[in-house]
Amino acid sequence: MTERVSGNMNVAGPQTRIVFEEVSKFYGEVLGVNRVNLSIPPGITSLVGPNGSGKTTLMNLMTGLVRPSRGRISVLGMAPDDPERLFRVVGYCTQFDSFPRGLTGYDFIYSYLRLFGYPHAQSSEMAVRAIDRVSLADAAGRKIAGYSKGMRQRIKLAQAICHNPTVLVLDEPLNGLDPLIRAETIALFRTLAAEGLHLIISSHVLHEVDVISDQVVLLSNGYVVAEGKIQGVRDEIQEHPMQVLIRCDKPGELASQVFHEDYVVEARMHNDRQGVLVKTRDADRFYLLLNRIAQNGIEIESVAPADDDVLSVYEYLIGTEESTK
């Protein structure tokens, strides 16, 4: 698989790609990623794998937040340890859910843009535009400390796109978003990819990336176990129901509304009685259903994959991949 991707470098040079050559990263004696060879073209590329598989490490490596123990990385021909050049063209929406103290959403983006050296008026204009793009204009003047998880996720996304980068690295960007915002965000990703950007998106939810990816890199225990077009992995997951945890104000009502759908395998209350665990065979249709439910009086706070089941899908996929080698 790696060789196939490396072969693509003949089509487009390293100046237009994100290239990992024999990259390994160890945290002390703990393996982050090992012997990774990748050449990522423009478009939406998803890094998929269970927790601890090395997705975030790969993203941190390509943005210079951590350094490789071995190997070489180049982002559009630039070394990640040159932030002055790199972050002119790279935006990174990290998984870190923490922010400088006391800042409003607007301050957060505005101050970040001032670090680029942009003057006040330009920074202000770009900040407003980025915040609008993630549908947070109404909350821009509020302190981030008072934001919901979904709002914090969106303000991080605004930070990543505010300087109009050509490479966008997004670590679990759909985590914590409600169905409507999730759909808007996915549409935004598609627009950005259509504009010619590199979008690198990590997820441990195959169904999420299934919807939006041009190509996918599957990771397990720090190794790249598969890569290629999304179509190939799509068929693999059709047979396996995914489990979703929906937090909302009326979990009982939500469960009764989704249960009669034939693609919903199971709907049960979460242990804390503040959410519903749903197993579905058709994630696309289920998310559409959730959109309708959200518009009809049930306030959906968040939609998140339930790990155990996603892990089992990966175990299945990785097992399949390894068994075919």
Partner: protein, 285 residues
């Protein structure tokens, strides 16, 4: 180096300083620094009020020595010392604990520029807090004197010169301790160990060999203080603070200033080297 790059660095420095100074000056976690800085003001205020209430005239020379003692033994060695621990060690260490350092690391800012911006903001905040305290201390310690005596001391005596010297020493103390604790903050995870080590090193400075004395901040600061510590605080009199107050071989003013600047530069250069290697690994905290 071309002009646009300097212009960019200046703009980035301004942006960092704007963010950081506000954060340092108005942080709730830094309130104790204000208590530490302004404690001598309260002590001198009560002292003056007591003398005024009891109708005692007081003596300018005696007050000057009391001020010198408090400045050297408490203000420099404890207030500014621990204040700089709180301010400068948190510039990077605090952000790692808050898991927010990546905000800067994701911007197109060179690490040395980031370091300079943060250090300058810390220096501005520390100088503002401790400089204000010195001004207020000076105002209240001579408050109980009549206006003629005060005018005589400030306009025709050593008053203004002493005030300028104390302000200068305060600024240099913030610079020196700031640089040392900035370096400690990027090097150590636990602030207690380096703080304790520097505290002991500074305390035993006077009894170290001459060459080692120069590898400390207090050596230069003591040499720059305009008034010697009162003689009753000396080893000869068996006072436990004696060896702290001693200054057996003071440096000249120029040597002290340049020595302290050199020491600070070395510490800052070390911090810069460490910062360039720093990775974001909050999980290890």
């Amino acid at each position: 180096m071309n002009e646009p790059r300097w212009a960019l660095w200046r703009a980035q420095l301004r942006a960092i300083i704007r963010l950081e100074t506000k954060k340092t000056l108005f942080s709730r976690r830094g309130i104790w620094i204000y208590f530490l800085a302004f404690a001598p003001v309260l002590i001198f205020l009560f002292h003056s009020l007591y003398l005024m209430k009891t109708g005692q005239a007081g003596d300018i020379a005696e007050e000057t020595h009391i001020f010198a003692g408090v400045f050297q033994l408490f203000f420099l060695r404890l207030a500014i010392f621990f204040g700089c621990v709180g301010i400068f060690m948190n510039l990077f260490r605090g952000e790692v604990l808050d898991k927010s350092l990546h905000y800067y690391f994701l911007a197109p800012v060179r690490r040395p520029v980031l370091l300079a911006g943060k250090f300058i903001s810390g220096l501005l905040a520390a100088s503002a807090i401790f400089g204000t305290s010195v001004l207020l201390q000076f105002a209240v310690v001579y408050w109980h004197f009549d206006s003629n005596t005060r005018q005589e001391y400030f306009l025709h005596g050593h008053g203004l010169a002493h005030l300028a010297a104390y302000l200068g020493v305060t600024l240099l103390a913030c610079l020196g301790y700031g640089a040392v604790f900035l370096a400690a903050g990027v090097m150590f995870r636990n602030p207690l160990l380096p703080t304790a080590a520097v505290l002991v090193w500074e305390a035993i400075n006077a009894i170290l060999p001459a060459a080692l004395q120069r590898i400390s901040v207090i050596f230069y600061l003591k040499s720059l203080c305009p008034v010697l510590i009162p003689t009753e605080v000396s080893l000869d009199q068996g006072n436990p603070l004696g060896f702290i107050a001693m200054n057996p071989s003071p440096a000249s003013t120029l040597t002290a200033i340049f020595g302290l600047l050199a020491l600070s530069l070395v510490a800052i250069a070390f911090s810069s080297r460490q910062l360039r290697r720093m990775e974001i690994d909050y999980g290890a905290e």
